[in-house]
């Protein structure tokens, strides 16, 4: 794309002053809405950086995004869908109450077309930097979106379309699908002899008992075999995709898709972990993702073992409408999808959902509650499933080294985000 090249070569656009100086009122709104109990005094939380340059409800005519032109071209070419995929912030220093910041945008690049789960699309990247009154940079952000062409067969995750490949559910199998809807992978167990069995059935083939209950799988398994489907077209699916027989650590096998890595990277013997994929308003499927996909699997999914506790402590956030709306407003994000359920549904979402500025703020909150007295140097967030109202966001973490924490934010649909937080070297 010639335009993309021209935009990239143009470098940073002229600076725009942020609407308000760094101020205590906005910091207080932000910390209260996000539940952040840190002591900030006259220092602004680093993850608030983008809040200072948000336009507010009324956008000024001179506030144009660095990639607006490219996004418009892609719209015109039929790539009308958009979803944010990455938000990486690097903090040069903390900013203080009273500072007047300015911001500059720079177009990054465009790559594609690529085949994605959403459909064919282009990844568009831009950068935003913030400067102090001395024109010294205080922070920089990479932002990437996927502009995609909604497929003829809508992607499974999109609402509106009903996923066509539905399981038949009978008396003997309903407990399994109920479990999936409750975020559990249930394995039938004979209540008398204890034998586990999948797929389930009414009579224990070992002791012929009709008494059954179930255990909840840990969600850890290994690919026993797999295929990559290319042809013929399958309704509701976009080839190529991987299907695997997964051997669970409990000893039974189950079939599912391996998502989260290119299908040609699946291997026999590959450790995988359970994720739940929402196919439409009614159907959730138990699926698999490489166990070493970032972040590493948390010690144990909820309910797998009653005593399991995330090593670094988990942070559970009930996503009430109040939480979603107040955090959106506290981050000066007035997009209707974050406060107006009817508007959210009209745009194909299930409900209002958490905005990205809040997600990155929550990653910072979790990181600083986990690693005390540290200062973030950068936060890289990779975005996944939406965090809808009514859901629960559970943040768990894994210390990679002294200065690195990997964070996973899970909702019932799977990972809402995976993030890497780096801390500044301790003085």
């Amino acid at each position: 794309m010639a335009l993309a090249g021209r935009l990239a070569a143009a470098g940073e656009r002229p600076p725009l002053p942020c609407p308000d100086p760094v101020n205590a009122a906005m910091i207080r709104n932000w910390t209260q809405a996000l539940g952040d109990t840190g002591t900030w005094d006259d220092v602004a939380p680093p993850a608030m950086i983008q809040v200072w340059s948000m336009p507010g409800l009324v956008r000024r005519p001179d506030q144009k995004g660095a990639a607006d032109q490219v996004l418009g071209m892609l719209d015109a070419a039929g790539y009308t869908g958009i979803v944010a995929t990455n938000c990486d912030q690097t903090y040069d220093r903390c900013v203080k109450v009273g500072e007047q910041l300015s911001t500059r945008m720079r177009f990054g690049g465009v790559t594609g077309p690529k085949r994605t789960a959403m459909g064919e699309g282009y990844f568009v990247t831009w950068y935003q930097s913030w400067y102090d009154e001395n024109d010294e940079r205080v922070a920089e952000m990479l932002f990437r979106v996927l502009k995609f062409r909604p497929g003829k067969r809508p992607p499974a995750a999109s609402t509106g379309g009903r996923y066509p490949l539905r399981p038949a559910v009978g008396k003997d199998t309903a407990f399994f699908w109920d479990g999936v809807n409750a975020g559990e992978l249930r394995i039938q167990r004979c209540a008398d002899c204890g034998t586990l069995r999948h797929p389930p059935g009414p009579m224990c083939p070992h002791c012929h008992s009709l008494n059954r209950d179930h255990v909840v799988a840990s969600g850890r398994g290994v690919v026993h075999s797999y295929v990559v489907h290319h042809h013929p077209p399958v309704p509701g699916r976009t080839p190529p995709y991987a299907v695997a027989v997964v051997e669970l650590e409990e000893g039974v096998r189950i079939v599912g898709n391996v998502n989260g890595c290119p299908p040609d990277q699946v291997r026999v013997g590959m450790p995988v972990r359970l994720v739940f994929e929402r196919m439409d308003d009614e159907l959730v499927l138990p699926q698999w993702t490489p166990a070493d996909a970032p972040p590493p699997a948390p010690p144990s999914p909820p309910a797998a073992t009653a005593v399991a506790e995330p090593a670094s402590g988990g942070l559970e956030i009930e996503l009430t409408p109040t939480f979603i709306i107040s955090t959106a407003i506290a981050t000066r994000d007035f997009m209707p999808v974050h406060h107006d359920p009817a508007q959210a549904r009209a745009q194909g979402s299930k409900d209002i959902f958490v905005n990205i500025l809040t997600s990155i703020g929550l990653v910072q909150r979790y990181a600083l509650e986990t690693v005390r007295d540290a200062t973030p140097e950068s936060i890289e967030v990779r975005l996944g499933a939406p965090a809808y109202a009514g859901d629960t966001l559970t943040l768990t973490g894994d210390r990679v080294d002294d200065r690195t924490l990997r964070v996973r934010g899970a909702v019932s649909l799977g990972d809402h985000l995976t993030a890497t937080v780096r801390f500044k070297e301790a003085r």
Partner: protein, 388 residues
């Protein structure tokens, strides 16, 4: 009492094999059945039994009406897709051996290419035993026979070091045989291993040329008692053994949950029964008709039936091992990869021709032919022999 040697196939009949027959499935069934009756030197009024697949759209009474058969005394259906093929003959032989019927036609007729194609994804699941089985698989886009076989093939490759080229050698052999069979769809069109490797992915690890064709057509065989068959025009193909079988935790093509994916335990059950019933061993077979809807299961069948040890089929088939002139010519008609996909029924007809000594790709001195039916499903098998 044993079924061995009580009954024989006295007649075979078929339509042409095509991609678009241009006529109803019932017409194909009636044409094939009438041809088998005539081949046996009988008339429709001599037939008093009909057996087909549960999957066949043509009911026994519909075929009876077309042929003008006055009355049926025996009719039955065999389930589980192509696994039914030899099972129809087993049922017919049991009926004849027990006096339930005198002459039984086994038939399979469909427009599998121009009508309902099995290779396409079927989206819905009913709440019955089969629907529930499919429900553990279909929702994941795991929806075609090629995919279901590929899952076992991948594990077989992993366990035994077999490669896609090993699978390709089966395709090359079948297409070589079909090339000299005028009835075969791929008559005159052999392939090379390089062409197999270059063919597009259907479901990795299966290439296009690992998958059998889709065909329109009908095939029927007529089973009667051996004593009666001796008086009919053609040399009888004696039913020396006939068996059906399943394995542990049997499913429809989803043998993933118990034991080894690299195996076909249902075929082991069938093989054990066939060898015990016939008193024969693999060394006594001059040619075999092995169900070849997808190439990998030809290798696994050779192992399950005792022609070679576990994991050794890749060596067994090297250097033309299953080609004409090889140690065990498999599917001299070109099989379903080369001749036509008539759900295994055309393979039974080829076995009869081999016993008669009347095949276009005739294997010398055929005394016993092994025939198998659909694999990955509950299956069946036959040993057909030249009369003493």
């Amino acid at each position: 009492m044993s079924l061995s040697g009580k009954a024989a196939i006295a007649g075979i009949g078929a339509t042409e094999f095509s991609k678009e027959s241009g006529r109803s499935e019932l017409q194909l069934a009636a044409e094939a059945c009438l041809a088998a009756i005539k081949d046996a030197g009988l008339t429709p009024s001599d037939v008093d039994g009909l057996v087909t697949y549960t999957a066949d759209a043509n009911s026994e009474i519909a075929v009876q009406r077309e042929l003008g058969i006055p009355a049926l005394r025996f009719f039955s259906r065999v389930d589980y897709g192509g696994g039914a093929a030899c099972g129809t003959v087993a049922h017919a032989a049991m009926a004849v051996a027990t006096g339930q019927a005198n002459a039984v036609l086994c038939y399979r007729a469909f427009n599998e290419r121009s009508g309902h194609r099995f290779g396409q994804a079927a989206p819905s699941g009913r709440v019955d035993a089969t629907g529930l089985e499919f429900s553990w698989h279909l929702p994941f886009g795991f929806a075609t026979p090629a995919a279901w076989v590929a899952m076992q093939a991948r594990r077989y490759m992993h366990d035994y070091g077999a490669t896609s080229e090993d699978f390709g050698r089966v395709a090359v052999a079948m297409r070589r045989h079909a090339a000299t069979n005028p009835a075969a769809w791929f008559h005159g069109r052999p392939i090379t291993l390089e062409e197999h490797q270059a063919s597009r992915w259907i479901v990795d690890p299966l290439h296009l040329l690992d998958c059998c064709q889709e065909s329109d057509g009908g095939v029927a065989v007529l089973v009667t008692s051996l004593d009666r068959a001796r008086d009919l025009p053609n040399r009888p193909a004696v039913i020396t053994a006939a068996a059906q079988g399943t394995g542990p935790d049997q499913m429809m093509m989803f043998g993933y949950y118990t034991g080894e994916l690299s195996a076909l335990p249902a075929m082991a059950t069938v093989g054990d029964t066939l060898w015990a019933q016939s008193g024969l061993s693999p060394d006594d077979v001059q040619t075999a008709i092995l169900y070849d809807h997808f190439t990998p299961f030809v290798l696994v069948q050779l192992e399950e039936l005792g022609f070679c040890g576990r994991g050794q089929a890749k060596d067994y088939i090297k250097d033309g091992g299953i080609e004409l002139g090889g140690r065990l010519p498999v599917n001299p008609n070109g099989g379903q990869l080369g001749e036509a996909y008539i759900h295994g029924m055309n393979g039974i007809a080829e076995a009869v021709r081999q016993v008669r000594g009347a095949a276009v790709n005739q294997v010398p001195d055929v005394r016993n032919v092994l025939v198998t039916a659909g694999t990955g499903v509950p299956t069946s098998g036959l040993v057909l022999s030249a009369p003493e």
